[in-house]
């Protein structure tokens, strides 16, 4: 079981899967970092994006990677609109209300999806879905390698946005001290909605990169959102580096757990890591000290 020929490809598989977790967690951590809320609608928005990719491909013949250009702005707009029109109004400025509002949004989106699209499992068939890169000791799936690369690109773009742009500075200002930000003339409601929009756009990007090798059902978000929360806590709430490293780490833990404990028990590893982090480093790997 401990053979090198299995171990190395398993770690690589974990890193490839982990990059998708990282991408989903990046959006979640941004929303947490600014809004200080746990966005329960994250999984439902991922599912919605996956359906978007599916229908763009099956009805209009648009390749999932081309769909990035459509879905990322579309989901950004949806996220922006959701925060501006629903979440901000319904929460009356209280964090614990936001929690319930996002949970409600998740329930509504999921059940509408179930109603309109039934719980069929849907996949798309793209010509490169089976393509592999032979690196000698493993066959790497091309779409998964693409997702891996894209996760780093997105993380890089977010980092540039946050550190080099006015928007980024405003987001950081709101995250640190929202009343102070308002005093110096930052439109806080706009920044909230921008953050939610960007977080949702990250999920759209993840969906485009995920569907070539995955499937979509109305319940698909649940599996990912639980892991994304773990990644965010592991990496440190609100930390981009943390989300990226945490995602990759969780991917590897899941992969090795599956290998050694069997697929049925494999996910135990993820939650053991989660508990260990909470016990020994509650702020996460890259989180600010509380």
């Amino acid at each position: 079981m401990l053979e090198f020929t299995i171990l190395v490809p398993a770690v690589i598989n974990g890193l490839l899967t982990g990059s998708i977790y990282a991408l989903i967690a990046l959006g979640l951590t941004l929303i947490y970092g600014v809004l200080h809320i746990i966005n329960f609608a994250h999984g439902a928005l991922l599912m919605l994006s996956l359906f978007g990719v599916y229908f763009l491909h099956s009805l209009a013949g648009i390749d999932p990677y081309v769909a990035l250009l459509i879905l990322v702005p579309a989901m950004f707009a949806l996220g922006y609109g959701l925060q501006r029109t629903v979440i901000a109004h319904a929460s009356h400025g209280k964090d614990e209300n936001v929690l319930l509002v996002t949970l409600g949004i998740a329930l509504i989106i999921e059940n509408l999806a179930l109603f309109f699209w039934r719980s069929d499992t849907r996949t798309i068939d793209v010509p490169y879905a089976f393509d592999v890169i032979d690196v000698g000791f493993a066959f790497l799936s091309v779409p998964r390698v693409a997702a891996f690369g894209a996760a780093f690109v997105v993380a890089g773009l977010l980092w540039v946005l946050m550190t080099r742009s006015d928007l980024g500075r405003a987001i950081r200002a709101v995250a640190k001290e929202r009343h102070g930000a308002r005093v110096v003339g930052i439109d806080v409601d706009h920044i909230f909605a921008m953050s939610y929009g960007i977080g949702t756009a990250c999920v759209a990007a993840a969906a485009c990169l995920l569907l070539p090798t995955f499937y979509v059902t109305p319940q698909v978000g649940n599996a990912f959102v639980l892991i994304a929360f773990t990644v965010v806590v592991l990496g440190g709430m609100g930390s981009f580096t943390g989300a990226l490293v945490g995602g990759l780490l969780i991917g590897v833990v899941e992969s090795l757990g599956g290998l050694f404990l069997g697929e049925t028990l494999g996910q135990i590893g993820i939650f053991l890591v989660f508990i260990a982090v909470l016990l020994f480093r509650p702020t996460g790997l890259f989180g600010d000290r509380a």
Partner: protein, 415 residues
């Protein structure tokens, strides 16, 4: 409140008058109805219980579609003749892919006064629903649920139309030996990949116990949950152990994901030989992923390809934009089985229907079974067939009297 009523009142008086006039006319019409319609007998409520949401919803929805088609057909043909043409009325249930939800649905169906229940696809769910139905003496026809525990508990209300996995495993192993010997016995080692609920684990235990008797060595048995999102680790282990035969036993989604990953990682066994493979004899799988499906053999529920009624049903199912999967035709047959029992019982009484089912010798189905004969709830004639995906067809390769093609074994290089 007062504003509302003042706004409404000017219209409402006229409306009330108009409505009462219309009501009176309708009442007159009712009493004037032709006798035949007024004498319409009470419809017979039939519980149609499947996991139509959740992890195995695809199969549940297929099963429900098959059952509903059969009910429509029976009603269109005049209902149950011995009961003055009483119609069948489906009472739909959703087990949400969870046994306990299935059992709760049985309680609800009992409240609604169903005569019988048909369902519930998965073994684990059927085990729970049959037991719940037994409490109210509701006859329960099991459409698929292959675990032999389902009919092995002495419950007199349970009837399984299809074969159980004891029969299926025997058949699968005998056919495997025949295929292997005919090719000069190139296959010796086996790996089993199964889902971890009652269906997959039960089957894996059975195969593990019996494969050595047939001269095969089981290198490893790998279980996985439903749903599973990634099979790369499982396939890595296949790569390292290089078994001659790979035996998957899982539900549709996981089967497809596993088959695609095996093709992607260039796994080249002598055969992929599934026993009740979730997708292995599915036209949908073949159409969506023909490369990953090529040459996969399966021992599964299948219609009698020589029966013209089967071809007719297939055309009608496909005309509805559905795939003709085993869930569809097994559930279609189960409703026929119930209708035959109702016809003979001449009553919607649960006890009478149970007795009629127990004495059933029905041969109006499209399966390669012969007339039904129940012993301890199990239809004795029920048997699986072996299929193989060859080109763009699913061919029957065993038993010989219904076969439509010769097996291709060992399988040629794919991908």
């Amino acid at each position: 409140m007062s504003r509302k009523s003042s706004l409404l009142s000017p219209v409402s008086r006229r409306r009330v008058l108009a409505a009462s006039a219309a009501g009176g006319a309708a009442l007159a019409a009712t009493t004037g109805l032709p006798r035949r319609l007024r004498a319409q007998p009470e419809p017979i409520k039939v519980g149609i219980l499947h996991p139509v949401t959740g992890a195995i919803s695809y199969s549940g929805q297929q099963g429900r579609a098959g059952a509903l088609m059969a009910i429509e057909d029976i009603n269109a043909a005049g209902g149950i003749a011995s009961m003055d043409g009483a119609m069948l009325e489906p009472v739909l249930g959703d087990a949400q892919s969870q046994p306990e939800v299935g059992a709760a649905e049985v309680e609800r169906m009992n409240e609604e006064g169903v005569t019988a229940i048909i369902g519930a696809f998965a073994s684990s769910i059927s085990l729970a629903t049959t037991q719940a139905a037994a409490r109210y003496d509701i006859p329960h026809i099991v459409d698929v649920g292959v675990s032999d525990q389902i009919v092995g508990r002495g419950l007199t209300n349970v009837f399984r139309f299809g074969p159980g996995f004891g029969t299926i495993a025997d058949s699968a192993l005998n056919n495997l030996v025949t295929i292997n010997e005919a090719a000069g016995s190139p296959a010796r080692t086996v790996m089993i990949i199964h889902e971890d609920s009652l269906f997959g684990s039960g089957l894996a235990d059975l195969l593990n116990a019996r494969l050595p008797d047939y001269g095969f060595e089981v290198l490893d048995t790998i279980s996985h949950p439903t749903p599973t999102r990634d099979f790369n680790n499982v396939v890595l282990q296949l790569q390292a152990r290089e078994p001659d035969l790979i035996i998957p036993a899982n539900y549709y989604n996981e089967y497809v994901l596993l088959a695609r990953t095996m093709l992607q990682q260039r796994i080249q066994p002598k055969a992929i030989y599934s026993v009740l493979g979730g997708a292995a004899s599915s036209f949908r799988f073949l159409e969506e992923f023909p490369d990953a499906a090529q040459f996969i053999m399966d021992c599964n529920h299948w219609f009698d390809p020589a029966n013209p009624a089967a071809a007719d049903l297939r055309a009608r199912v496909e005309a509805q934009d559905l795939y003709f999967t085993y869930e569809v035709f097994l559930d279609y047959c189960c409703v026929g089985l119930l209708a035959d029992a109702l016809e003979r019982a001449g009553s919607a009484d649960r006890g009478a229907v149970t007795e009629a089912l127990a004495a059933s010798t029905w041969d109006g189905h499209i399966m390669p079974y012969g007339p039904t004969a129940f012993v301890d709830g199990q239809n004795q004639g029920a048997r699986p067939v072996n299929t193989q995906i060859q080109g763009d067809n699913i061919e029957v390769i065993f038993p010989e009297e219904v076969a439509s093609a010769e097996p291709v074994f060992p399988m040629p290089e794919r991908g």
